[in-house]
């Protein structure tokens, strides 16, 4: 997959928009669109980062003592940024060329973002395309997902097939409204949970839900495929397949696994969720839901009282990293870890590496943290990200459970599972992206992410970006960091730590850069909704429509990235793409299709 194929050193400047995107689209706990968690998580990152240098052993105390740290430190960097960055790049170039002849050099300004953005756009294109392909292929080959059915989500109470258009319309809107309400409710629940730190609960649900999803979805899907191709499979083999698939997923997503496999799993999962949406949402509702999502995305992200912002503010008012409380943000723990590692001797790390893996579940108490801080980095990021992911999923699951427990009749139950599993998946994705990256990346991301989190307050974001940039440049010079920039503190230590690592010496930096390259995040929510749109478009059997939607969505994605590159302001990723997609879907099927059909049948070319 393209993901790790491209090996260019990356500058935070480019990373930034994507991060914003991801942050804007990887948090929403319910509507299968984790638009909510990550940004806040990253805010957490930021503050965690800023505060980390002051106090190693406990992030909380550290958080508490320097509320004004960010501004000061950032400004400090700001001045230093420009000249520094250039020189720094020069110093780095030779190495880059050695390792990668075709590697790009960097330069300042928007253009640079455009250029490097290109690579990242492609790196998003590929998985999105694959996800869409999976969905469309399934839609066109397995009738189960296209045929009329009468079982739907409990969210969509209105669904009589042969109602007059008017009725259908308001009903679909009602359904969409309900779903939206559910989304909002979840958001609030998320806030509540965050306020009263019930991490244990979260964790528990987490694992359960993700397990359920990995196994149940694959089971259902396998059954559909087998039925579609009318091939007799025996239970033994089937269960073996499902069991292996599920466990593989757990290992890769929640623990450690080959990047490629992780990505494959995430894509498959999001495709399955998308398919579930298509299958179990009434025809019209799908479209309205997509429309509503666009609006919601805009509101949640841009409106000054949008939930994201509220979360951020509460966190800041509480003057602590926002997400550690709520989600076990892998990134957050990293900060601590990094800071910590920066301070500690490698030996210490070595000792504790052994037990890194088993304290994945005890992050909720600060004790757990201390241990982690002491631990080896790479291991940590992962397991914490496990925790984090878990936290998210649990969240989705739990609240879902509360919501639905009363509602389901036994027959509907599986569906309720579906619902539950959506938020989890998405979250899983966003998190696991965290997982995909390794610590320096995260470290570096931390700041812009923070920016993202705070992006609602525009100026701050820009500032912190610069600081981030600076940090990255500084990697070459391990010393004296602590004094100069609080934000920068964790970073060089990360750098050192890499260099000190006994891994192949040459590789370490490339590696770190590769990691950066992978640092791009796109919420599973986007994958899902894009795929839903395309899949739905393909369900009427017209490939032109499908194609049009596909192109439109990708272009929309490009535009979003472009905009992000231009004004460094948090932007939602769904609106443009989905609007394009919807417009082109209806326009094509209504206007273009008759025209094209006539042309095709007459073999007239234009």
């Amino acid at each position: 997959m393209n993901y790790q194929g491209v090996t260019f050193p990356i500058l935070l400047m480019e990373l930034h928009p994507f991060l914003q995107i991801s942050s804007m689209n990887t948090g929403d706990p319910l509507a299968s669109d984790p638009r909510e968690g990550s940004p806040t998580e990253r805010t957490g990152l930021m503050s965690g980062n800023q505060t980390s240098n002051t106090d190693r052993p406990s992030y909380r105390s550290s958080a508490s003592d320097s509320p004004t740290m960010p501004e000061t430190s950032v400004n400090a960097n700001e001045t230093a940024v420009v000249g520094d960055s250039n020189s720094n790049r020069r110093s780095r170039r030779p190495r880059e060329e050695r390792t990668r002849p075709d590697s790009a050099s960097a330069s300042t300004g928007e253009d640079e973002e455009l250029m490097y953005g290109a690579k990242h756009v492609i790196m998003l294109f590929v998985p999105v395309t694959l996800c869409m392909m999976v969905v469309v292929a399934t839609m066109s080959s397995i009738t189960f997902y296209t045929q009329e059915q009468n079982t739907y989500f409990v969210y969509t109470p209105f669904q009589d097939q042969e109602a007059p258009t008017g009725t259908k319309l308001w009903q679909s809107f009602a359904n969409a409204g309900i779903i939206l309400c559910a989304v909002i409710v979840m958001t609030i629940v998320l806030l509540m949970l965050y306020k009263y730190r019930c991490y244990k609960v979260i964790n528990g649900w987490l694992i359960v839900s993700s397990v359920m999803m990995l196994f149940f979805f694959s089971y259902m899907y396998l059954e559909q495929v087998m039925r579609a191709y009318n091939s007799p499979l025996d239970y033994i083999t089937a269960s073996l397949i499902v069991w292996n698939f599920g466990m593989g997923g757990l290992f890769c997503i929640h623990w450690k696994g080959p990047l490629l496999l992780q990505q494959a799993y995430l894509i498959i999962i999001s495709a399955l969720v998308a398919l579930t949406f298509i299958r179990y949402l009434p025809d019209w509702t799908v479209w309205t839901v997509l429309g509503v999502m666009v609006v919601w995305d805009l509101v949640a992200v841009l409106c000054p009282k949008g939930p994201l912002r509220v979360l951020v503010e509460t966190a800041q008012s509480r003057n602590e990293p926002i997400f550690p409380a709520l989600i076990y943000s892998s990134a957050m723990v990293w900060i601590v870890t990094m800071a910590d590692d920066g301070g500690r001797s490698k030996k210490k790390k070595k000792q504790e590496t052994k037990d890194t893996d088993n304290n994945a579940d005890e992050e909720d108490d600060d004790g757990g943290f201390k241990e982690h801080m002491a631990n080896g980095i790479s291991g940590h990021s992962l397991e914490d990200s496990v925790a984090a992911r878990s936290a998210f999923q649990a969240l989705g699951d739990m609240t879902q459970a509360q919501k639905d427990s009363s509602v389901h009749s036994s027959c509907v139950d599986p569906l309720s599972y579906y619902e539950k599993s959506e938020p989890q998946t998405n979250l899983a994705f966003s998190e696991s992206n965290g997982n995909i990256q390794d610590e320096p990346t995260m470290q570096r991301q931390a700041v812009p992410e923070g920016a993202v989190g705070g992006a609602v307050a525009a100026d701050e974001s820009d500032v912190s970006v610069r600081s981030a940039k600076k940090k990255q440049k500084k990697r070459a010079r391990p010393t004296g960091e602590g004094a100069s920039a609080a934000g920068g503190e964790g970073e060089p230590s990360g750098g050192e730590q890499q260099r000190e690592r006994p891994a192949v010496p040459g590789a370490s930096d490339d590696a770190s850069e590769m990691e950066e390259e992978r640092g791009i995040k796109l919420g599973l929510g986007d994958f899902i909704f894009y795929s839903v749109l395309v899949g739905k478009a393909s369900s009427n059997g017209d490939w032109n429509t499908t194609l049009a939607c596909f192109v439109a969505i990708l272009i929309g994605l490009c535009c979003t990235l472009l905009l992000l590159a231009m004004f460094r302001k948090a932007l939602p990723a769904l609106p443009i793409s989905l609007t394009f997609g919807l417009v082109f879907n209806f326009a094509t099927s209504a206007l273009v299709q008759p025209f094209m059909d006539k042309l095709n049948s007459e073999q007239v070319y234009i």
């Binding site: 491209v6 790009a104 294109f125 490009c558 273009v592 095709n600 073999q603 007239v604």
Partner: protein, 259 residues
């Protein structure tokens, strides 16, 4: 149509573009994006033209009208795309000057032909796909077309013409853009005329039936002649020449390679 026919036609239509994509575009993200974007512009053009066609209720059955409209619209959008591309281009040219080292992205922007070619191909691919994909999809099954009196060469011609238009768009892209760069309005006109010519030629196909498949030759041969012409023109525009070609042919492979 039968499986063999299906794959045959698919290869015919998408073989060359695939090769082009594989060797000249896939490796550079910027080109891929430009390809996408140009495809998007073509879609917009198509949307416009079909709106026009739809609005003109009395003329709906006379395809000629719709065809002419859409050809013009396509060229207009090609022009718009050119404008936009150049805007981005100038911005990026500045960047690429700074960089002394070997790098793909700025290079692309410095060389207008590449983007011209890519966007042309983008137009072509999407146009070709739109014109063939449903034909391929609808006719899946054990049989072939013709029971309603259509020619048995329907698919073959469809595939060939789709390929033709893909390549034509590619050439036109190159010619068109460079013509605009150099403000050679005649060549711009030529492109438009060529496009119009091709479209009108394909109108001939309507007369085809099982009895007279020869009609197809009436549109195929000229179309490919046109393609040849445009190809040569584009080749020369892009700075190719017979001499170079010879040189390339005789030179031992790999001798001149930069990378």
């Amino acid at each position: 149509m039968t499986v063999m026919e299906f794959f045959g036609c698919t290869f015919i239509t998408f073989g060359p573009p695939f090769a082009l994509f594989l060797f000249t575009i896939a490796r550079d993200p910027m080109r891929v994006i430009v390809l996408m974007a140009s495809g998007f512009f073509w879609l917009c053009a198509l949307l416009m033209s079909s709106i026009v066609w739809f609005a003109m209720v009395p003329l709906r059955d006379h395809l000629a009208f719709g065809v002419v409209c859409s050809v013009l619209l396509q060229e207009i959008f090609r022009f718009l795309f050119y404008k936009i591309l150049r805007k981005a281009n100038d911005g990026l040219l500045a960047v690429s000057q700074q960089t002394t080292e070997q790098h793909v992205t700025p290079k692309d922007f410095s060389n207008r032909h590449i983007m011209a070619y890519v966007s042309g191909l983008g137009f072509g691919v999407i146009a070709g796909t739109f014109s063939i994909v449903n034909v391929l999809a609808d006719m899946s099954g054990p049989g072939t077309i013709g029971i309603e009196g259509d020619s048995k060469y329907f698919f073959l011609t469809s595939a060939c013409l789709s390929l033709c238009i893909i390549l034509l768009h590619m050439c036109w892209g190159v010619i068109f853009f460079s013509a605009l760069d150099k403000k050679q309005w005649i060549r711009v006109g030529m492109v438009v005329t060529a496009h119009m010519l091709f479209a009108c030629l394909s109108l001939v196909n309507q007369a085809s039936s099982s009895d007279n498949s020869e009609v197809y030759l009436g549109s195929l041969i000229p179309s490919y002649l046109l393609l040849f012409g445009s190809g040569v023109a584009a080749f020369l525009t892009a700075g190719g020449s017979l001499v170079n070609l010879k040189a390339a042919l005789i030179c031992r492979r790999g001798r001149y390679e930069i990378e």
